[in-house]
Every structure is written in C-alpha cells, then in structure tokens.
C-alpha cells in the first residue's frame, strides 16, 4: 500500500487492466457473483489439468450428508515447472475454500481463497518456498 502511494507521487501512469480479467475465460460467465460460498471438506482428487486445475472435495452439508464439490483453480503450468506435483497436496487434506458457485447451480465453484484447516492461506508454489 505504501508503495502505491509513493508511485502515485511520482506521477507515473501505468495502463494495467486488473490482471485476473485477462485469464482464459470470463469467470463471471461461469460463476455467479450472487452465490458466494465457503465450504470445508477433504480433498479427494486434484486434477492438475489445463486450462484450469480442479480440486475435488467431500463436503459435509448441514444434515451431515457428504456432498462432492468441484473447485476451479489456476493453470498448473507454473507449479509443474517449479517441481510441484499432484502429490504436493495430499489426498485427505482438509481445506476451507471461499469462492463463488457455478451459475448452473451445481456443486461447482471457483476457489477464490484456498485455506488450510488452521486458517493459513494455501500457496501451492511461491518463489519464497525455493529458499
């Protein structure tokens, strides 16, 4: 935040659209802004595929019944380039995912934030982890 003010002070303009809008497809066409969700569940499968990876989760609903959810994430290419494999995130890991549900009303959504059970944000790869 401090950086932002300092740069504004220099009076330098940079035409950068918000990056997320430049991805593979229009997310707001696939997912519903009026259906934010937060689910807690066990990872049953992680599809490291393109154009987007998908996390499969078993989620217990209010009645205690287990419901399968599919969550969309990012392209796995940068992860794989940096040595992350589908074993990096163990099957059975408990995840808390905040996102927006699919427009067709099924148990699919985009994973805005992927959190571990203790509340830490899940970073599948970052340069910091190389150190």
């Amino acid at each position: 935040m401090r950086t932002r003010r300092a740069v504004a002070g220099l009076g330098i303009a940079l035409l950068l659209a918000a990056a997320p809008a430049m991805a593979h497809h229009a997310f707001s066409a696939e997912f519903d802004i009026s259906k934010p969700f937060k689910v807690r569940g066990m990872l049953t499968k992680w599809e490291m595929i393109n154009p987007h990876s998908w996390f499969h989760l078993d989620v217990k609903d209010e009645s205690g019944e287990v419901v399968a959810w599919m969550i969309e994430g990012g392209s796995p290419n940068q992860l794989i380039k940096n040595g992350v494999t589908k074993n990096t995130l163990a099957i059975g890991t408990e995840l808390v995912i905040e996102g927006y549900q699919a427009k067709d009303g099924t148990n699919k959504g985009v994973g805005r934030n992927l959190l571990l059970a203790d509340g830490r944000r899940l970073f599948l790869y970052s340069r910091e982890t190389e150190k």
């Binding site: 932002r4 330098i12 802004i33 393109n50 599919m70 392209s75 970052s126």
Partner: protein, 331 residues
C-alpha cells in the same frame, strides 16, 4: 498479505540484477553457434511483461529511468497480487498468487520502454484506415447477429474455445500467465513451442515460398531466414476468421529474434496491413531466459469452464422463462 509481500520483495531483488534491454552495451554479444553454424537461440524464454503495448496517454517519453521502471514494476506486482473487493465482478476468480501465476513470481525482463510499440514513435497504434474501420463495424454487427455471447459455443471467444490466444500469435504477445516459449533449431528448421494452447510453430529456413495464397491458417504461413545474428520470420496467409487487433487476412508480419546476451532475446515485429492501418507499426519485447520444461497446455481436454459457462447460461434462461411464465396472467 505478509507472505505476498515477502514473495514480492524477493522477486524485486531478483529483478535488480537483470541486465536491461535497451541499455547501452559495452561490446556486441556474439551468440554461441549450433552444430550446423546458426546463432543459437535455443532454450526456454518468457515474454512476460508489465509494459503495455501502447504508451499511456499521459507519458511523453520513450524510456523510463531505471528508478521509475523499478517502481512501476513493483506497483504492478503489488496490484497483480492484491485481493479484489469481495462481491465485485473482478473478485469472481481464483487467486493467481496461490498458483504462482502472477508475473512477478516468474522470470521477467526489466524493460525501460514506456510501451512495446516503438514505431510510430509516439508508441501508439496508427489510426485505422477507412477499410479497417468498416471491417471492425462489420465484425461487431456480425457478432450481434449471431445472438448473445453464450448462445452457442461458436459465439464464445477463440481463447475460451482453446483455439487461439494472444501468446500464439503471430505476433507472440505476452499475457497474464503461461508466457513461456521453447525455441529448438535443426538444420533447415526452427521450432517455437508456445506454452499457451501448446502450439508448435515449425518454420522452414530453406528459402521455399510461402504456401499457395488460397491456403489460409490460424497462424498463417511462416518462412524464416538469417540476417546476420538475427532470425527473421515472415508470415502471410492468415485467415479472416481471426483478426489480430483488427487486422485483415492480408496482414504481413515480420518477426526478428536477436540474442542480446545469455539471458536476453530481443523480439521485434512489424505489422504491415494497409487495409487496416494507415501505416505499418512495430513493437519490441525483451524475452528473458526461463526454465523448462513446458507442461502441455492441453486446453480442450480440461476445458470444463466452457461447459460450465454454457450450462450456466441455459440455467439462467430457464429461470428467466419460469419467472416470465409466473408473471403471465392466468387464462
């Protein structure tokens, strides 16, 4: 947040050691040679950049100072990693940083230029010709006549359908992520593997003519040759199914690849299309050495997003029809 700041700080430390594209060099670099004597351009490269294609209107110079360029990159990196406002359209997205997809987490050349366009000298696209403006209007009308953007799969953008994206080109322009290219050289050929959509451009260097003019392809017909240290690729035979920045199928593209040092490749291109722009225009992008391998971007195989988008549109239509039926007066 703390985590992201650490990531950014380490990325910026990395950038400070990068040689600058466009900076005066003490002595000319000679690229190593392949076994058959070509300048060796092989390896993995990235054209990731925060530099816009066109110069911002309130910037009146060709180059930033080193300090300004670093500040801009820092700001762009922070902006890219920043969370969006919950409940807004930009928030309907996954977080790039969680997948290492924000550009500052990967290799990127530091560019002092204020725009990728170097000609016209004001760094902006030349005006559209009358013909170019007419075709743009016709394209818009044709799109509208086909119905809404999600009425049929054919109405979806080429990128959503995994057919062509800006990384493929040609010309090859970077995007938000997956900006890696692998160049391989064999006697008589050069191959450029584009990470996004996993497109392999195989370009003959033996002086053969372009394909017959009735053969039209998404990425055209490309032929290469050496001009000293520089690989020159000329492309024609593009298709009217795709209009690069509004260009016609008669666009003629010249790309030039020059290795500036171990870590940097200079990518230049010139677009000539009198039926679209009132004059030719050129751009320059420094490509930075990257690491491989490139994971296959098998886009069709996992394109659940396309299905979900169309299914979402049908579900919305059904809801709307039900609402309308409820409002209808009973007979």
């Amino acid at each position: 947040m703390n985590h992201r700041i650490l990531v950014l700080a380490s990325a910026l430390i990395g950038w400070s050691a990068i040689p600058l594209a466009g900076q005066a060099r003490p002595k000319p670099y000679t690229a190593p040679r392949t076994p058959d004597g070509q300048p060796d351009l092989q390896g993995f490269w990235t054209n990731a950049t925060y530099t816009p294609l066109e110069r911002p209107k309130n910037v009146g110079k060709e180059f930033y100072t080193l300090e300004e360029a670093r500040e801009i990159m820092k700001k762009a990196a922070v902006d890219e990693a920043e969370q969006t406002e919950p409940g807004t359209i930009p928030d309907v997205h996954y977080d790039f940083t969680q997948f290492g997809l924000d550009r500052s987490q990967g290799a990127m050349a530091l560019n002092l230029r204020t725009s990728l366009i170097v000609d016209p000298p004001e760094g902006r696209l030349p005006p559209l010709s009358a013909d170019g403006a007419r075709r743009a209007a016709e394209r818009t009308a044709a799109r509208k006549s086909r119905g809404g953007p999600h009425d049929a799969v054919q109405n979806e953008p080429l990128g959503s359908r995994c057919i062509l994206m800006d990384r493929n080109g040609p010309p090859m322009l970077g995007g938000a992520y997956n900006n890696t290219y692998q160049i391989m050289q064999a006697p008589g050929y050069v191959m450029i593997l584009v990470e996004m959509l996993h497109d392999a451009r195989i370009i003959p260097l033996d002086g053969r003519p372009q394909l017959p003019s009735n053969v039209r392809q998404w990425t055209g017909s490309s032929r290469g040759r050496w001009d000293g240290q520089t690989l020159v690729i000329e492309t024609t035979n593009l298709t009217d199914k795709f209009a690069f920045m509004g260009a016609s199928e008669n666009m003629r593209l010249t790309e030039r690849f020059t290795r500036l040092d171990e870590e940097t490749l200079r990518y230049q291109f010139t677009v000539e299309d009198p039926s679209t722009w009132t004059r030719p225009w050129s751009a320059e992008v420094p490509w930075k050495k990257d690491k491989g391998p490139i994971f296959e971007h098998a886009c069709h195989e996992g394109n659940y997003g396309l299905y979900n988008t169309l299914a979402g549109a049908r579900a919305e239509e059904k809801r709307a029809a039900e609402e309308a039926a409820k409002k209808k007066p009973q007979k």
